[in-house]
Assembly symmetry: C2
Homo-oligomer: 115 residues x 2
DNA sequence: GGAATAGTTCGATGATCATCGAACTTGGGT
DNA sequence: ACCCAAGTTCGATGATCATCGAACTATTCC
């Protein structure tokens, strides 16, 4: 089984084997705007139920693949999630500790409020 | 000196003497969307420096009165601030405790992160 | 190699929203 | 009574963004 980790903004279809350097967490405004959207908040909520990477398909209902992909990108660019490929399948992992370090308490309290 | 308190959504220009029943704090999505905007976040940040109501004019720079009024309305409808008239001048008061009760830690951590 | 599956990207579209100026209202001061 | 200062409301405008389908890419399985 192959596990690949993507740097956030250097994703191109012909460049899939970069090492796992993570984008810094975005501005407070970016993070808040990311989790303010109901669809993305639900994605974050589901991700928060475990510390494991979660397959994309398990993170949303009722929207198209392309819309979901757009929301993943927004979350990734804000530094809230990280894309991880496991055995050819894309997963998302919540960057709990990174966001906590940048903005202590923000993500945790939002997740608690969303439950 | 006269102090008047407005219920959030029953504000009309001919109805200025209602008692001070406060709107419940809005949904998590409303609160997050309210503080996600940079202009409104700065308003909240300035309000958080004191527990007193603050005059409108002291809460923003570089935008028009009408734009500021729009942002105040958004914050009020989300239940984040309350409008208070003191001696004929409009002030805003941060509803710290109400938001804290509804979504523990959210507003406090955002304010701390904004400083 | 071919089919099937998973995800991304690309336009396009419609909705939401931040912004402004202008007109209006209200309250205070002269 | 009159004016001035402070806020609100009303359209209008431009920007941003959520959404979709379609086309494209990549990976696994047969």
């Amino acid at each position: 089984m192959i596990i690949e980790l993507f740097p956030e903004d250097a994703m191109s279809s012909t460049d899939l084997t970069r090492d796992s350097e993570l984008t810094p967490v975005g501005s407070l405004h970016e993070v808040l705007a990311a989790v303010a959207d109901p669809v993305r908040l639900e994605m974050v909520r589901r991700l928060s139920r475990t510390d494991e990477p979660v397959a994309c398909g398990a993170l949303y209902d009722g929207i198209s693949k392309s819309t979901a992909s757009h929301h993943f990108k927004t979350l990734r660019e804000a530094g809230v999630v990280q894309r991880i490929v496991i055995g050819g399948n894309t997963h998302q992992r919540l960057r709990r500790d990174d966001v906590e370090a940048a903005y202590p308490g923000v993500l945790e309290s939002v997740i608690r409020a969303a439950d």
